[in-house]
């Protein structure tokens, strides 16, 4: 296992940044956020960022094409640019798992080339959690916060950061940095993993009921009378969907610039009244239906289509951010708790 002393971490970060673009969570006055590395930035040790890491592959706004109109001629301009190689340093296990959830949507046929392009150019260094929060429930979905996936797994223990490559990309990154890294045994890492797992075991939401959300129970859950009570306070904002690392719905819109058309896509939210609005209508008229859609998608529809993989990774952002504190943990308890 390779390792580096935490006091030398800045040198490691600037070595990566010298090679390719580097993004990492840093502390801001409103909590941790991912940002492009600038000299002097230090890695945030906060359990999670406000916004999820999906932005790197599926940004909130993205231009898809442009049209220029001259007389009767319409010119279509391809606005895609070659993405540069980049490293995401310090993503947590839940966010890394969310990439898998997104992959199954965007890399399935037909492949989303915008997404694929970014995905191929990225190297993810995943950092194991050492101080999970009460809102964390990744373990409910079988994610081990102490053993994050990604191209490189990293741990902090006894004043050092340890690295283990998981993929070819990870190997390449670590070997490029080998001058700064030392070889060391993994005893400290094992101890840190144990500590994290002990803490995880104390979290109030570590064991949410998941076994009831089977495809054969679809109609039962769909028609559950509890949706009414759960959704009645929902104000229909998009906070949960926008901070969610796995929400992947988007809308494609045209913006008239006055001298042409810019076609872009942007995140959309199933909580919105104009979600999937068509010429005639939108299919979900009430907030109950929209609310139900979001949770049914994550807990039933998505796993039914993806070998039981849930569309939630338990990062806890929606628990912390929902204006009325209604969230997937409460929904899971209500629907699957006493059955």
């Amino acid at each position: 296992m390779k390792s580096i002393s935490l006091s030398n971490l800045p040198e490691l970060l600037s070595a990566i940044a010298a090679k390719e673009a580097l993004y990492l969570p840093v502390d801001t006055k409103e909590g941790a956020e991912y940002k492009a590395y600038a000299e002097g930035d230090s890695l945030s040790l906060a359990c999670n960022t406000n916004r999820s890491a999906k932005d790197f592959f599926f940004p909130q706004v993205e231009d898809m094409a442009a049209f220029k109109v001259e007389g009767k001629k319409i010119e279509i301009i391809d606005v895609r640019k070659e993405t540069e190689d980049f490293v995401i340093f310090g993503a947590r296990a839940c966010d890394v798992k969310s990439f898998e959830v997104l992959d199954r949507v965007f890399l399935a046929d037909p492949v989303d080339t915008f997404y694929k392009n970014r995905r191929e150019h990225s190297t993810v260094v995943a950092l194991a959690c050492s101080a999970p929060e009460e809102t964390c429930f990744c373990s409910s979905f079988g994610i081990d916060a102490a053993e994050p996936q990604g191209d490189v797994s990293a741990w902090i223990a006894e004043g050092r950061m340890f690295f283990k490559p998981n993929t070819q990309k990870g190997e390449t990154l670590l070997s490029a940095l080998s001058a700064l890294l030392e070889e060391s045994d993994g005893a400290a890492v094992e101890k840190a993993k144990e500590e994290t797992r002990t803490i995880m075991g104390q979290l109030p939401l570590q064991n949410l009921p998941t076994e009831h959300f089977k495809p054969e129970k679809l109609m039962e859950h769909f028609n559950d009378p509890k949706w009414k009570e759960l959704s009645q306070a929902c104000i229909g904002c998009g906070t949960c969907t926008f901070v969610c690392p796995t929400c992947q719905c988007f809308d494609i819109r045209d913006f008239d610039t006055g001298n042409g058309i810019q076609r872009y896509r942007c995140w959309d939210s199933c909580m919105y009244s104009d979600f999937t609005q068509m010429a005639a209508d939108q299919p979900r008229h009430t907030q109950l239906e929209r609310f139900r859609q979001r949770f049914m998608h994550k807990l039933v529809y998505y796993p039914a289509n993806n070998e039981g993989l849930f569309g939630c990774v338990g990062c806890g952002r929606c628990l912390a951010k929902c204006p009325i504190s209604m969230n997937i943990a409460k929904v899971m308890k209500a629907l699957g708790g006493d059955k």
């Binding site: 101080a131 009460e134 939401l205 009645q232 306070a233 229909g236 904002c237 104009d274 204006p323």
Partner: protein
């Protein structure tokens, strides 16, 4: 206080005076309660909470509730009564279907401030006088309540209930708050500094619309920003202009109707101090057209639906200091 409120709720439901009770339902933790319609005394007994984190302003739900059959009881903190009164003034609520119970408020707490202190992994919180005993996975902490008081409550404008059917506890007073201090501080900056300040804040906006949807003054059936035919509908801040545009237009639409309840800033997932924009308008109105508090007096004309032949000219705003 929770006990008194619960008893009142149960009494109202038992007596048949009301069919539903709008209050706060306990969550997974001490701080994450959800606005909830209680239908039975047993439900109230089991899950009704009122504590330092019962911050949500319930008045906007009354628009929807007023359309239903039967009477709903609602518990309103002093600042919520301003919103309630303002909504009535705008004829958005069927008054006869609401039983409003005024409840006292000592100021609400902001969980984000607790988190900013580095307090994580919260298991339980106990309110004890002026202190909070927080028990976390990582140990116990004692925090003074005033250190985690929400900004809107630290600058509370009034402890007086402007409208209610009955009142629990003592009636408070309109307070002399320092809520415009930060506006003044911003006004004293140079134009460049202010621009930088707001760019930094507004550029974090993710257009989740939480501020709009929670706002008791934002009750349009269809918002112009959701109307694809309006030409300005947008689901994302696709340019810096749209960040500014959304917040300017939204704030302008609630000028003279915003009661400064502070819900917009409470719900913002990105921590943008949106209330400052609304407060600037309130401060300007007070300075230009005389003191006005939305929701206070139902018979007073709002500043933008009124005028005087002696009003100042737009250009005069900037002449004072020169």
């Amino acid at each position: 206080m929770q006990k008194v409120i619960r008893e009142k709720a149960i009494e109202l439901l038992r007596s048949g005076k009301v069919d539903r009770v709008l209050g706060w339902k306990e969550g997974e933790f001490f701080y994450d309660q959800t606005p909830h319609l209680f239908l039975s005394p047993e439900e109230v007994e089991r899950t009704f909470v009122y504590n330092g984190f019962s911050g949500a302003n319930l008045s906007k739900y009354l628009v929807k509730e007023g359309l239903k059959e039967g009477v709903v009881a609602v518990f309103l903190k002093p600042c919520d009564t301003y919103s309630f009164s303002q909504l009535l003034k705008e004829h958005r609520i069927a008054r006869d279907k609401i039983w409003a119970v005024g409840i006292p408020c000592e100021g609400k707490l902001d969980i984000e401030l607790l988190r900013k202190m580095g307090i994580r992994g919260i298991k339980t919180i106990e309110e004890k006088g002026d202190e909070l005993l927080v028990s976390t996975i990582y140990g116990e902490k004692t925090v003074a309540k005033k250190d985690v008081l929400a900004e809107r409550c630290a600058n509370c404008k009034s402890r007086k209930h402007v409208l209610y059917d009955e009142l629990l506890g003592e009636e408070g007073e309109v307070l002399d708050s320092a809520r415009f201090d930060q506006i003044e501080k911003l006004e004293q900056m140079t134009s460049e500094e202010r621009f930088a300040f707001w760019q930094n804040e507004l550029s974090r906006c993710i257009r989740c619309n939480a501020c709009r949807n929670v706002c008791p003054a934002c009750t349009c059936e269809k918002c112009v920003f959701d109307n694809a035919d309006s030409g300005i509908a947008s689901k994302a801040p696709a340019s810096s202009f749209e960040e500014q545009n959304f917040h300017i237009i939204r704030a302008f639409h609630v000028v003279g109707r915003c009661t400064d309840c502070g819900e917009c800033s409470r719900v913002c997932p990105q921590g943008i101090p949106l209330h400052l924009i609304n407060r600037k308008f309130i401060k300007d109105i007070n300075a230009f057209y005389g003191a006005y508090q939305a929701g206070e007096n139902p018979d007073e004309r709002a500043p933008l639906t009124n005028y005087s032949t002696e009003d100042m000219e737009p250009g005069d705003v900037f002449k004072k200091g020169e």
